[in-house]
């Protein structure tokens, strides 16, 4: 188990290093930072001074190490638009994003998992087909279309709810629904197939054959085993809490991290983009670590043997 944990931790760190390296490479490949930040018609002496000040004349690996060190200190640069530290700008947007994504996560879990289990247990019934069709539809309708259709119906036609902004809880209803419905569809589809696979396993047949009641067999054997793959995708959903709302926040003009990211990309505000990238990577990596720990709890085999896929 310790070895398992150690491996997972090492892999998580490696992923973070890869993300930072990715950011560094992309940053350097995207052009001369001096020219990017100073305008092109700045006097050459000013550009030279800038290079000197920022160490752009040093060997590339020195810049790389310095970049790492800066990130460790939490120094992620200043926004090019208003000169405030990027990390501050991002941090103050986090609550707004969580206000959308946490209720949406509750909808995904509360709707998607039961629907998937129900569909699998009543396979080929009308309910199963309805759930699957809805799930496929929910998966194929992009969130911006779903969001705009909801706005069209509930805000424009019926006038029940506001179409955008963040003044009251009523403003949050449509974006939360938009986020939740799509995710619930994905989760239902996934849970159903995980369940079906487990239901077809020999140990289920054995349990039923030796007279274990159906409900008990499902509770004792099927659900815990189907939980293992489902936990992965839920982990991904939790990990993308900060990033999952990029499109929806834009549709509803919700001032969260996602909206900030889109604006920053449009303005090429590199410090902010990089800060969000690292933040998302960190959440994702932590969520994956938690998922791995849960695996250990759910699947006793993993406590003593490394996972094949990662070994």
């Amino acid at each position: 188990m310790l070895r398992f944990l150690g491996l997972r931790l090492a892999r998580a760190l490696l992923t973070m290093v890869l993300v930072v390296t990715f950011a560094f490479i992309v940053l350097r490949l995207s052009g001369d930072p001096a020219l990017l930040i100073m305008s092109a018609d700045a006097p050459p002496e000013a550009i030279a001074a800038f290079r000197q000040a920022w160490g752009l004349n040093d060997p590339i690996w020195e810049q790389y190490l310095r970049y790492f060190a800066a990130i460790f200190r939490g120094d992620l640069g200043q926004s090019m638009r208003d000169g405030r530290p990027a990390i501050e700008l991002v941090a103050e947007r986090i609550p707004a994003t969580l206000a959308l994504t946490l209720p949406a996560l509750a909808i995904k879990l509360g709707l998607g998992i039961p629907a998937g289990i129900y569909a699998a247990l009543h396979r080929n019934s009308f309910a199963d087909r309805a759930v699957m069709l809805l799930a496929v539809a929910g998966f194929t309708v992009p969130s911006f279309v779903l969001g705009l259709v909801l706005v069209l119906v509930f805000a424009v036609q019926l006038g029940w709810l506001p179409s955008g902004g963040q003044e009251s809880w009523r403003h949050g209803v449509l974006p939360v629904l938009t986020l939740g419905i799509g995710g619930a569809a994905v989760l239902a589809r996934f849970t159903r197939s995980a369940m079906l696979e487990v239901l077809g396993q020999p140990y289920m047949r054995t349990a039923l054959a030796k007279g274990v009641p159906w409900a008990r067999a499902v509770r004792r054997h099927a659900l815990p085993n189907a939980a293992i793959p489902t936990v992965t995708i839920v982990g991904f959903m939790v990990g993308s809490l900060l990033a999952g709302a990029v499109v929806v926040e834009s549709v509803f003009s919700w001032p969260g991290v996602g909206r900030l990211l889109v604006v920053a990309v449009a303005n090429r505000d590199l410090a902010v983009v990089q800060c969000i990238l690292l933040l998302v990577a960190a959440t994702m990596v932590s969520a994956n670590l938690v998922v791995d720990l849960l695996y250990g709890v759910l699947d006793p085999r993993l406590r003593s043997a490394p996972r094949e896929a990662t070994a």
């Binding site: 911006f144 705009l148 197939s193 990029v246 990309v265 449009a266």
Partner: protein, 295 residues
């Protein structure tokens, strides 16, 4: 789709190509295929089919509603606020979106299969490196990576297609590596290697055709994702740039006229939904028919 058992049947011990019997094809799948054929025809014959150039202005008919909502047949799907014909723009957008999605899917498959084969062939460090990349890719929401690259590099169509081609390669890499390793450890690939075949021949002539059906199914399943990704980015104004247009672009533009002229937005939205839905249905059906091992 409901007529086909969705269960992942255990792989038969003896592999046989799918029997050439005429199974009843579900109605939904037939409809999906018909829709996709229509989309392909539209994409290929866009210039012949569109009634107007997609940038042509008709200032006398601005925000004209489509037929059925009080519009005229001249602009069957209405016009936008510059008087551009929505149908013509839609046709051009379909071509653009499909082109991007095809290009990206192919790039992603080629990249993934190549890396997967490299990992399977060389093992050791190469394999570990590929697996680390796979992990990295699988653990980051691709939209965020894509946005970061767009922020750093700005946008141009070829770059945009290549960028989308980075989406989902890790799935092909996993499949290709897994299947190549199992074919190489004792199966036909090892036998052909033992006959003196070069790696090119082993992978190109034997392994690739053997895993092609699995790959095609995965490509079909990944295709809607790419369409959604492209339209999402274009919707945000970070994908295809005007004056070019794509389905996501049209939705993003139509959003400004949501209250006054919802048709501008509804036409491309429906096309996106119907197309992704059709490809998904087709992909699910193909998977159940060709490759029950894939989920």
């Amino acid at each position: 789709m409901s007529d086909i058992p969705l269960s992942a049947m255990p792989a038969p011990a003896v592999w046989a190509p799918p029997a050439r019997r005429r199974a009843r094809v579900p109605v939904l799948v037939v409809l999906a295929v018909l829709w996709l054929v229509l989309m392909l025809v539209v994409a290929f014959a866009a210039d012949l089919l569109s009634p107007f150039p997609y940038t042509a202005l008709d200032l006398r008919n601005r925000l004209s509603p489509p037929v059925g909502m009080g519009g005229v047949w001249l602009h069957a799907l209405g016009t936008d606020e510059l008087g551009r014909d929505v149908l013509s723009r839609l046709i051009t957008s379909i071509r653009m979106s499909l082109l991007i999605a095809f290009g990206a899917t192919v790039i992603s498959a080629v990249l993934g299969v190549t890396l997967g084969f490299l990992a399977a062939h060389f093992r050791g460090l190469v394999e570990q490196a590929v697996l680390a990349l796979v992990d990295f890719q699988a653990s980051m929401p691709f939209l965020i990576l894509a946005l970061a690259v767009l922020a750093f590099f700005g946008n141009a169509l070829p770059l945009f297609i290549c960028l989308l081609g980075l989406n989902g390669w890790e799935r092909y890499a996993r499949i290709a590596r897994g299947l190549a390793v199992s074919a190489g450890s004792q199966g036909y690939a090892a036998a052909v290697t033992g006959l003196g075949a070069s790696p090119w021949r082993v992978y190109g002539r034997h392994v690739l055709p053997n895993i092609a059906s699995t790959l095609i199914v995965s490509m079909t399943l990944a295709f809607p994702e790419i369409i959604l990704l492209e339209s999402g980015l274009s919707f945000l104004g970070l994908g295809v740039q005007p004056p070019m247009t794509s389905l996501g672009n049209m939705v993003g533009y139509g959003r400004e006229y949501l209250t006054r002229a919802p048709w501008i937005l509804l036409a491309p939205s429906s096309v996106i939904v119907l197309t992704t839905l059709s490809v998904s249905l087709l992909g699910d059906w193909l998977r159940d028919r060709l490759d029950p091992t894939l989920r």
